[in-house]
Amino acid sequence: MTRYLLRRLNLFLATSLVLILVLFVATSRFPVEHKFALTGIHSPTPEQVAQITADYRLDEGNLSQFTAYLQQRLSGNLGVSATSNQPVFDELVQVLPASFELAGVAAILALLCGIPLGVLASLSKNKITQHSIMAITLTGYSIPVFWLGLTLSLWFGVELGWLPISGQINLLYEIEPVTGFLLIDTLLSDSQYRMSAFTDAVLHIILPAITLAVLPFTVVVRITRTAMLSIMEETYIKAAAARGLQTSKIVIRHALPNALIPVLKNMGLMLGAFSSYAMVVEVIFAWPGVGAWLVSGIYQRDYTVIQGGILSVALIIIFLSILIEVMHTAINPISRKEMYATS
């Protein structure tokens, strides 16, 4: 197991290194002054120029420059944003929680609705139920997210006026950031408007979360269904049924845990698509997360923000997909066996 973990760790480091190398090369190709692209400082004073040259070892060879770049970026020095003059790292810390919150709620929504529906689809003997569930998921899978987001906000926001369609909360509520997750922070705050602020935050997250949840939801339904169908044919299920166990008990205790293993694996594969969807959703619903921040950085030619955004988003994706793979291996008895066989 240790060897396996070390190999995964190695994979993580190697991929990250390649990523940073790509960023390093791209940075020197940006159509602006190299020092500006590295630090975001517009017109540096002579002392700053000397400092930058020393920090990034600009007067040395490429390899040395790359190590310096690596050192700076890994120690959290992402430069300052050219438009706000704030350190990019601080801005990143401000926007990341909002993205995690949205992604988390969307993922929970997708799993909570997707798994039961997938099970239902696999168990149902009724052709109409089966087909309609499959039809719905296929439709959901093929709807472009930007269209869905706009349509939902047009209907539920503008036409019906039921739900707010942009931002995280009505800005009149002042919420002290404690965890950075607004849903938790509203509950933690001691203001007299605590509950209504929480309600408002919940109302604000509904539409973006639903929009973002549609894609993973459809995938979860389909994978759960396929997995359940094959597992329900297994002999141990039949044996359990023959022993007279209730169907619900069979499904929940014996079939579902095994059916969820492929779901987990697919969630890892979906991460990339999911995060790019999240960016689109953030822009549509003006959600103050890392995606909206990165996109506005691109519009404003804020090169340090672009680097910082790409670096963090990519690192998170790499880390999470490797984490999911490790979890998958740890849970899945079959791959555990394979692992021991090969090591």
């Binding site: 926001g157 942009s166 800005l171 509520y173 408007y193 109302l203 169907t247 921040w293």
Partner: protein
């Protein structure tokens, strides 16, 4: 299996009903106003900028000036100065200052004294005196003051007593009081500056602003919001709204959507095409005010071929400005015959001196010996008071120019980049405009068309003409209105001959707002004031 199938719908129903409960819950909101603004302010000190976005977010909310404009009557009225005296030769202005005025208390600053003459001296000396410790704290200079030649105008500012200051001018200037009444001439706290110097944090003066205005700055998150609280020590009647939030929303459609879903109460700079939507909704209304502004197309006269007046005239004759008014402004603007808008007292309702005549344009180009011409038109990426949609305007001009065989490329960047690039002077022509800061007609000429303004990059045509400058100077040195009117008309004529800029519209100022918000006050010279605004009690339900 049956059990499971039965339980599922039940669970779903439970889920939905919880959500509905949450939704039906009576919403309790803190008292306050949310204003959807169009962009990030560049600074929190309007002395340093000319952009309307910054003035909106600062001048009327955080600060006060010595004198103020009464928007209704158009006269200068007392603010932090209670009275003023002008000496007979017009060279000395003596202001009596208001007593019992408090500066904001903030987390990092607690004023120990009230407003006095030192603050006035500090605020203006910072601008005019290059030896002042705070003069070069501003990286962007003081564009408005530099463009009107403020430091040359003021010989000396004298502290007569703690509550009296005298401005000694080097020459009589009829626009001096009007310039003091602009949103740029705000009063800062000298004590705060002193404290920051001791802490070696001079930059904070323009970022964590301290003023005497109705609201104090609490928090600013770029691209997201600006938060203000009511100034509990305000020298006038306290503002009704406890909180004021500027929700920064660059897209006009998003601002409209937020207004409809009640995420904001007042929304800035709408597009004309959105008015029917507002008229449809019962809870919303349109606020408008004849604009003190002008939208124009400026030619960079430092570049070939725009240094040739025949080329400029040709391009001007080629543009169908009626068409722009129809398509871009949709009846929310009046056609511009010159720089001055109809509400100005020096305005004269004469016909435009440049007519739409493509044939004449072709002839002029031929005279100039130009056969093939390709130009760039820079279009602002954001809505401005004077032009809600510069990109569309550019497209119309592009089509018009195609008729006279001139090829036009439309160039656009994000607003902050756009501004930086404009200062680098590398453009051919740009669609931009000017929103007046005060009612003096001079404001439409000196800050944007004088030689001085070329130096400070507020003259977008980069056109410097000594004859024109002399004319402006002459008009400023007298106070007789009919005489001044005649001189400004002369200036308009001269501009129509030289066409460094082609004015096309004076836009009406519009905001969309919820009907339950009362007393948000548009000011004609840019800026919006929420001093007396509040939301009516909640029984005016927010139901759409």
């Amino acid at each position: 299996m049956k059990v499971l199938q039965k339980r599922l719908p039940l669970g779903l129903a439970l889920c939905i009903s919880t959500l509905q409960l949450l939704g039906c819950d009576q919403q309790k909101l803190p008292s306050g106003i949310v204003y959807c603004s169009e962009g990030n302010p560049e600074s929190f000190n309007p002395q340093l900028v000319t952009s309307g976005t910054t003035v909106d977010a600062t001048s009327q909310q955080i600060y006060d000036g010595l004198v103020n404009y009464n928007a209704a009557s158009g006269v200068v009225e007392p603010a932090l100065a209670t009275r003023w005296n002008i000496s007979d030769d017009g060279l000395t202005y003596t202001f009596d200052l208001r007593t019992n005025v408090n500066f904001h208390h903030s987390d990092n600053f607690t004023p120990s004294r009230q407003f006095n003459a030192d603050d006035v001296l500090f605020s203006f000396n910072r601008i005019i005196d290059e030896g002042h410790p705070y003069h070069f704290v501003s990286k962007t200079g003081y564009p408005f003051f530099q463009s009107i030649g403020f430091s040359q105008l003021i010989d000396d500012i004298e502290k007569v007593s703690d509550h009296q200051v005298a401005f000694h001018l080097s020459r009589p200037d009829a626009s001096f009081l009007a310039n003091l009444a602009t949103g740029f001439a705000v009063i800062l706290s000298a004590e705060y500056a002193q404290q920051l110097s001791q802490q070696d944090q001079q930059d904070e003066l323009d970022r964590l602003a301290i003023g005497t205005g109705p609201f104090k700055l609490v928090q600013y998150v770029k691209n997201d919001f600006i938060r203000y609280h009511r100034n509990e020590h305000y020298w006038q009647a306290q503002p009704d709204a406890e909180r004021l939030v500027f929700d920064i929303t660059p897209k006009s459609t998003s601002r409209l959507a937020k207004l409809i879903t009640s995420d904001c109460n007042v929304s800035a700079l709408p597009k004309a095409g959105e008015i029917p939507v507002i008229l449809d909704k019962e809870a919303l209304e349109v606020d408008s005010l004849p604009g003190f502004n002008v939208a124009f197309w400026a030619f960079n006269t430092e570049r070939i071929p725009f240094n040739d007046v025949r080329v400029r005239r040709a391009l001007a004759h080629a543009v169908d400005r009626e068409n722009i008014l129809r398509a871009v402004y949709q009846k929310t603007a009046v056609a511009a015959t010159g720089m001055l808008p109809p509400p100005s007292w020096a305005y004269n309702a004469n016909d435009s001196m440049i007519d739409y005549n493509p044939q004449k344009a072709k002839d002029l180009l031929a005279q100039a010996g130009i056969t093939e011409l390709s130009i760039d038109i820079w279009a602002m990426p954001v809505a401005r008071i004077y032009n809600p949609n510069a990109h569309k305007t550019a497209e119309l001009i592009q089509a018009d120019l195609a008729n006279i065989n001139v090829k036009a490329n439309i160039v656009s960047y994000d607003w902050s980049v756009f501004n930086q690039k404009l200062s680098s002077r590398s453009y051919d022509s740009v669609l931009i405009g000017w929103n007046a800061d005060n009612s003096d007609p001079d404001n439409f000429f000196t800050p944007i068309l004088s030689c001085k303004s070329v130096e400070y990059n507020s003259n977008r045509s980069r056109w410097c003409d000594s004859q024109f400058d002399a004319l402006l100077q002459q008009a400023k040195s007298i106070t007789d209105k009919p005489q001044r009117t005649a001189l400004y008309q002369q200036a308009e004529l001269y501009l129509a001959e030289q066409v460094p800029v082609l004015p096309f519209a004076h836009a009406t100022r519009l905001v969309f707002k919820q009907k339950k918000v009362n007393n948000s006050k548009l000011t004609p010279f840019g800026g919006i004031s929420f001093n007396h605004s509040s939301q009516k009690p909640a029984n005016m339900s927010t139901q759409p």
